[in-house]
């Protein structure tokens, strides 16, 4: 027996209060990452272990910089939802709220750090 009416579950944005936003954003960021990640892995793999000038020259070029920046931006959005689900499953109350704030702050910090590094190396 269902204790919640159809209207209640579907009313407005439903019991999640954000509709299907998280699910859709997870799918959309994963499609973006499916194209960007192999490209990024190749660029990074080829640059890892090279001297400083080569690293700066590589990530200063438009395509490696744009691929890296976009990948990190999407990956961090993807991570926020993913870790958000983990926290929703295993934590509750104040611990959940504080950990959610911490994870989101970390995601934005990493995105900002990468964009700063790429802008500084751009030539």
């Amino acid at each position: 027996m269902r204790f919640i009416t159809d209207r209640k579950t579907a009313n407005g944005k439903g019991s999640a209060h954000s509709g299907t936003h998280e699910h859709k954003d997870m799918a959309l960021t994963s499609i973006g990452l499916a194209f960007l990640m192999p490209t990024f892995l190749f660029i990074f793999g080829r640059t890892l272990g090279q001297p400083h000038e080569v690293v700066v020259a590589t990530f200063g070029r438009p395509i490696p910089a744009i691929v890296t920046g976009l990948m990190v931006f999407l990956a961090m959005r993807h991570m926020m939802h993913g870790v958000g689900s983990v926290l929703a499953d295993y934590t509750r109350g104040t611990a959940r709220r504080l950990l959610t704030i911490f994870v989101n702050a970390l995601a934005y910090l990493i995105t900002a750090a990468v964009l700063y590094a790429l802008i500084r190396m751009a030539h």
Binding site: A27, F42, F59, D89
Partner: protein
Amino acid sequence: MAEAKREIVRPLSPHLQVYRMKASMATSVLIRITGVGLMSGFILFVWWLLAAAISPEYFAFVNGIVTSWFGYLIFIGSLAAIWYHYLGGLRHLYWDTGKGLDLETVDKLSWGMVIGTPVLTVLTILAIWGI
């Protein structure tokens, strides 16, 4: 009114200790573990990139750590984790179309992920080495 304030402690999900482990469950749990674990490789990469942007001296210090056996261990582990998570993500996108949800297909897709991960990991390393 003390009773009204009592917190309802509902069980947390998923109940790993209740269900019998199956291929579909094991592969699903591993998507989560690889996803969270990927933060280590990510943070190592960001530290390295930031060091390159800051100064040659700081880069030399960070590069020494990142290109040590320990750094490569994290990066190769992260590479395998990326491919596993990638295949798991493709499976979710396929499921989102409403197809492939019967037990036989789910089992096949699970084995596809387990076999596909080492194959793609080795292929990526070969591609990077230029073979």
